[in-house]
């Protein structure tokens, strides 16, 4: 089983106050640390686990700048055999353009695969679209929100998709196919710094993204970046902790859930 799995380097924004610059032209990410996209981490782990069980190899592919090599080293440390970096000069916002470029890359370079994994979405743009578009472009069956892989056969897989309300859907999907992996499908292993350093000795192939731009045009345009609309917001309880907690209990009593 040859699995190609996509991995992306994303900024860590959970605790940060993001700043828009140039009157909406850009979001300042210069001071942020970066890490591997959470969903991709689950996807790489799942790919490695499958290969550990049934044999084959995992190829990690990242599209991005030179720094994205970091997530490839990480994937190799987790168990991927190869790492491919498709270098692009600047981030492509349109998921269609991204998928089209990847599709060209896979076709032109004859990247062999039985399955392609992507994360369901990336933490930064949350588009969740590259996997589905890519599947359509490569004319492959597709499934997203994959929360379990129950069976791996040479010509098909049985997977579980996560639906809403705690419901799941079991699906039989023919190979080759593309699956977008949901977080929580497994517990990704820890990757030590030593492991990453060892992985650095495995050569990562670099491809120039502009070689795959034929027919790739953005169909959507980012007009500008804006801050979210301010909702009315909460009534903030402030003061000493003691007072705050008294107020809290007061509210609970008022709402009739605590006597």
């Amino acid at each position: 089983m040859n699995i190609v799995t996509f991995t992306k380097r994303v900024p860590v924004t959970q605790e940060e106050e993001l700043r828009i610059t140039g009157d909406g032209a850009a979001v300042d990410l210069s001071k942020l640390p970066f890490k591997v996209n959470d969903w991709d981490n689950y996807a790489v782990e799942e790919a490695v686990r499958i290969v550990e069980k049934v044999g084959g190899s995992v190829t990690a592919v990242a599209m991005g700048d030179a720094e994205s090599d970091e997530v490839l080293r990480r994937a190799i440390a987790m168990g991927a055999k190869d790492g491919f970096l498709v270098r692009i000069a600047r981030a492509i916002q349109d998921p269609f353009a991204r998928a089209a470029l990847i599709s060209n890359f896979i076709k032109n370079e004859n990247v062999p695969f039985d399955v392609i994994f992507t994360g369901v979405q990336s933490e930064d743009d949350q588009f969740g679209s590259v996997g589905g578009i890519l599947a359509a472009l490569l004319k492959l069956p597709y499934s997203s929100m994959v929360i379990g892989i129950d069976k791996v056969e040479s010509d098909h897989m049985v997977i579980r998709r996560e639906l809403e309300g705690g419901l799941q859907e079991r699906v039989r999907i023919s190979l080759p196919c593309i699956l977008s992996i949901q977080s929580g499908i497994n517990e990704p292993r820890y990757v030590s710094i030593m492991g990453i350093r060892k992985a650095s000795k495995v050569e990562r192939k670099v491809f120039q993204g502009n070689a795959y731009e034929a027919g790739v045009g953005a169909m959507i345009d980012t007009v500008k970046w804006v801050y979210p609309p301010r909702k009315k917001g909460a009534m903030m309880l402030s003061g000493e902790l003691d007072e705050v907690c008294k107020n809290l209990v007061g509210i609970l009593k008022e709402k009739g859930v605590y006597q």
């Binding site: 605790e15 640390p33 820890y190």
Partner: protein, 364 residues
């Protein structure tokens, strides 16, 4: 296993002094002598076991053959780390430290947030004349309970006329706990980053706020030619020399808890006691296990990020109960981890825990 450790482990005579002094052996499945034995025979070790160790260092101090059992634990953990099979909470702490340079994953940009409420400005160490660095420590930079400690010490040093600066968001985790978790690669990265800054800014002296940071900076960063001390040593000097005058009495019975990394591992027993002794009105009390034999609070060795099952009585609770039995009004200590671990059962039992700087703020 490293060659050195192998030869050290082979010299073990299984005397059991390590187990006798270990804060975990006996009450939990952890048995340090047994682990060394297993290492001698290279037999399999249950993955859950090594995580009980709090890195208090008692075993290594007591070992008559210099086997350094606490280092053996680090070796065992290293293998688990390389394997990727470690408790999730520990994994999270390591990943956070890699990205944000602190185990809690708080924003690095907010590392100096504790300075915001001070009524004087703290300069970057590069802008100071004496290049004296206050090394803040992750937990004291972010945890709301502990953030008061650097603010207090800054005020005290300021009052004592000591010039100092900080690294602000450039400060990275010292790596003390990370080394004990067994993530040597990450420790190297953290050390390189901190050393680079210390060098670039020409730092001549470091005042560490946490005994854990002090330990790492003093003993594990190689010879940097920089004097490293704990803030209690500096403050005691200030009081002793008269540069810092205590103006108010503190009519309390205070029992002092020795942090492992300050006391038994670095021999600083007297400075904190001297400070307390200099405060009029203080009645100093001592735990039955004090100084070299102080009972570990179980906050070290990665245990701040990973807690074992709650079925075992916590040492912090043992400490609090003894403090109450001895009639102490409050437990004083000089380590943020000790504050955090002790305060948990203390609050439950109506006992007060204070970091030394908090007491000082009331009497200066």
């Amino acid at each position: 296993m490293l060659e050195q450790t192998v030869s050290r482990v082979l010299t073990c005579i299984q005397c059991g002094k390590c187990t006798g002094s270990c804060p975990e052996s006996g009450k939990t499945p952890f048995n340090i002598r047994m682990l060394v034995r297993k290492q001698q025979f290279q037999s399999a070790i249950d993955e859950a076991i090594p995580w009980y160790c709090t890195s208090c260092g008692a075993c290594t101090l007591r070992c008559p053959r210099d086997v350094k059992p606490s280092e053996v634990i680090i070796d065992i953990r290293s293998l688990l780390v390389e394997d990727g099979q470690i408790p999730l909470a520990v994994q999270k702490a390591l990943e956070n430290t890699f990205t944000q340079k602190n185990p809690w994953g708080r924003s690095r940009a907010k590392r100096a947030a504790w300075t915001e409420n001070l009524d004087f400005e703290i300069r970057h160490v590069s802008e100071t004349a004496e290049k004296r660095l206050l090394f803040v420590c992750c937990i004291q930079a972010y945890d709301p309970r502990c953030m008061v400690i650097p603010a207090n010490v800054a005020r005290i040093l300021n009052q004592g006329g000591v010039e100092f600066g900080i690294l602000g968001e450039e400060e990275a985790c010292c790596g003390n706990e990370i080394r004990r978790i067994g993530e040597a690669g990450l420790v190297e990265e953290l050390q390189e980053e901190n050393k680079g800054n210390l060098q670039e800014y020409g730092v001549k002296e470091i005042i560490a706020l946490s005994p854990h940071c002090m330990n790492a900076l003093k003993k594990e960063y190689g010879d940097m030619g920089i004097k490293v001390s704990h803030y209690t040593e500096v403050v005691w000097d200030l009081i002793n020399s008269g540069a810092l005058a205590i103006s108010k009495p503190f009519e309390k019975k205070v029992i002092y808890h020795d942090p492992c990394f300050l006391g038994k591992q670095n021999g600083i027993f007297d400075a904190p006691r001297n400070i307390l002794g200099a405060i009029p009105g203080v009645t100093p009390l001592e735990f039955s296990r004090a100084r070299e034999t102080s009972l570990c609070c179980e906050g070290g060795g990665g245990r701040m990020f990973f807690e074992v099952e709650t079925i075992y009585q916590r040492n912090a609770e043992v400490r609090v109960l003894e403090a109450i039995a001895k009639g102490a009004d409050l437990i004083a200590t000089a380590c943020p981890f000790c504050v955090m671990t002790l305060e948990d059962p203390a609050t439950e039992k109506g006992q007060v825990v204070r970091e030394l700087s908090e007491i000082l703020m009331e009497v200066l």
